[in-house]
């Protein structure tokens, strides 16, 4: 087993198609993207005790449970936040390990951790112990998320030196698509397992842990690394740096000393902060601004998820032609304009234009995630791009906390000061537009990395 997982056993033989690597990556990302759909568990988790006594309030009631001891939605919100924090931390801590052991071992570790995380969370749910759920999904599952997220990235970049944006965009598109699968799968399983005294959430988590483990293992089985010196037919590696695209390599320890790394960190942080806060509020926002019913609001969230997914492949592959810096310029400029117009569209009750504006914003939110590995590859080379990407994902963790807090706090502050609920989003949108302007400036300041940070070719090969 250990030999099979070893890096040397996952080197591709002659005739291996590099187009097998994106589906291997998708096996991982389609599963771990389930984290975006975790909110589907929130209400059932908040009704465990009342469900056991067949005493839950009706769906239309304002309270979720009247039984003392049932968990609150606020407490349950920490499960998602913990998972995102551990995603960033594990990606940063294990980035170099992932580069060293290769994608198969990393994908196996991710499958074990993510699957086990769901199973432990299911156990914690069954015995009604919230710290065990935090440990299971938040810490163990979150660590699987981080390792799984970065595990195929550098492999894809090595297989597709001619189209790195397309390759990483395909994998990271899977993370967006994971929510589209995870939510209905959880609903289906909870329905299957529900009984008069249980809403089936614990059994659903355990089943999903097993399904996701097996599905992710398929990715670990089919992934391969290219042999040293391999290149696709007709591809000639550039021997000189062109603009921001380097022909050299920077190691992770040096990359984090460059201003360029921290500017890209800020670019990702600001792009994610602007998107994530609104994504979490989307359902409530369209209901309060346009008075649509909850089912239609769920449709709005679904549409945003679709654009979040499609934007990943669209923008990342477009960036191969447009250039990464120009692509982010579009994200920030267009995003700022759209955010600034959203309140006016709300006041004018222009529902279709409002939806269209958000769909484009969310496509660029997803695009920001999917384009950033190729941006790092352009700036720092391929040798330790996975590890550098891992450290960069701490920006996501930070934004995962800052974005929702910012949006919720601003909204609540305005409501407390007498602003109507439907109007309370306006200031938030203008602040988001402001954040994107700052992001535009950070991106604009990015210049090629100074030569002193690049390693000599022998050192780069040793680090590969």
């Amino acid at each position: 087993m250990a030999a099979f997982l070893d890096r040397s056993h996952s080197i591709a033989g002659p005739g291996f198609s590099r187009w097998l690597v994106p589906p291997a990556a998708l096996c991982i990302h389609l599963c771990i993207g389930q984290v975006y759909a975790f909110s589907v568990f929130n209400k059932p988790l908040a009704q465990l005790l009342c469900a056991a006594q067949s005493a839950c309030p009706p769906a239309t009631a304002k309270v979720i449970s009247t039984i003392p001891g049932d968990w609150s939605i606020t407490d349950l919100g920490w499960i998602f936040s913990l998972a995102i924090v551990f995603l960033g931390l594990s990606a940063a801590v294990f980035g170099r390990w992932v580069e060293r052991v290769g994608p198969r071992m990393a994908m196996f570790a991710a499958a074990v951790l993510f699957g086990a995380g769901l199973i432990v969370a299911g156990f914690g749910t069954a015995i009604h112990n919230l710290p065990i759920v935090f440990l299971g999904y938040g810490v163990i599952g979150g660590s699987g998320l981080g390792i799984g997220y970065i595990s195929p990235v550098s492999t894809l970049i090595k297989w597709f030196p001619d189209r790195p944006g397309l390759a990483t965009g395909t994998a990271i598109m899977g993370f967006g698509g994971g929510a589209l699968i995870g939510a209905p799968l959880a609903v289906l399983l909870m329905k299957h397992y529900s009984s008069p005294t249980s809403n089936g959430v614990a059994a659903t988590m355990v089943t999903m842990g097993i399904i996701y483990f097996l599905y992710m293992m398929v990715g670990a089985l089919i992934v391969r690394l290219p042999a040293v010196g391999w290149a696709p037919a007709g591809y000639v590696a550039p021997t000189e740096s062109r603009g921001l695209i380097t022909s050299g390599n920077v190691l992770v320890g040096d990359a984090i000393k460059t201003p360029q790394f921290w500017l890209i960190w800020a670019v990702l942080f600001l792009n994610v902060t602007a998107g994530i806060g609104v994504l979490g509020q989307a359902s409530l926002m369209i209901q309060e601004m346009f008075g649509v019913v909850a089912a239609a609001a769920a449709g709005f969230v679904g549409l945003l998820s679709l654009f979040n997914m499609v934007g990943r492949i669209f923008w990342a592959s477009s960036s191969d032609a447009l250039g990464r810096k120009r692509t982010y310029m579009i994200f920030f400029a267009l995003g700022a304009v759209l955010y600034a117009f959203v309140p006016s569209l709300g006041h004018a009750h222009a529902l279709v234009l409002f939806i269209l504006a958000y769909a484009i914003i969310l496509s660029m939110y997803g695009g920001g995630f999917a384009t950033v590995p190729a941006y790092l590859r352009d700036m720092f080379g391929t040798v330790q791009v996975g590890a550098i990407h891992g450290v960069l994902l701490t920006a996501w963790s930070a934004a995962g906390v800052a974005g929702p807090v910012l949006v919720n706090y601003i909204r609540q502050y305005q409501i407390d000061h007498g602003v109507a609920k439907a109007d309370a989003y306006s200031v938030t949108m203008y602040i988001m537009a402001g954040l994107l302007v700052v992001g535009f400036i950070c991106n604009w300041l990015i210049t090629p990395v100074a030569q002193r940070y690049f390693v000599k070719s022998g050192t780069a090969e040793a680090a590969a």
Binding site: S17, G174, V218, L306
Partner: protein, 46 residues
Amino acid sequence: MNQPATDGSASGKLILAWIWVSIPLLWGIWVTFGNVAKLFTPPAAP
């Protein structure tokens, strides 16, 4: 060391791998479209 993108023996695996990842994704998109349709459906009269 340039190498062709694929050869005959890899084609079967390639098709299977893409089917494997497409099925759950298309199912998820299908379900999501069902919800999106509700956004543009007028609510039923009480």
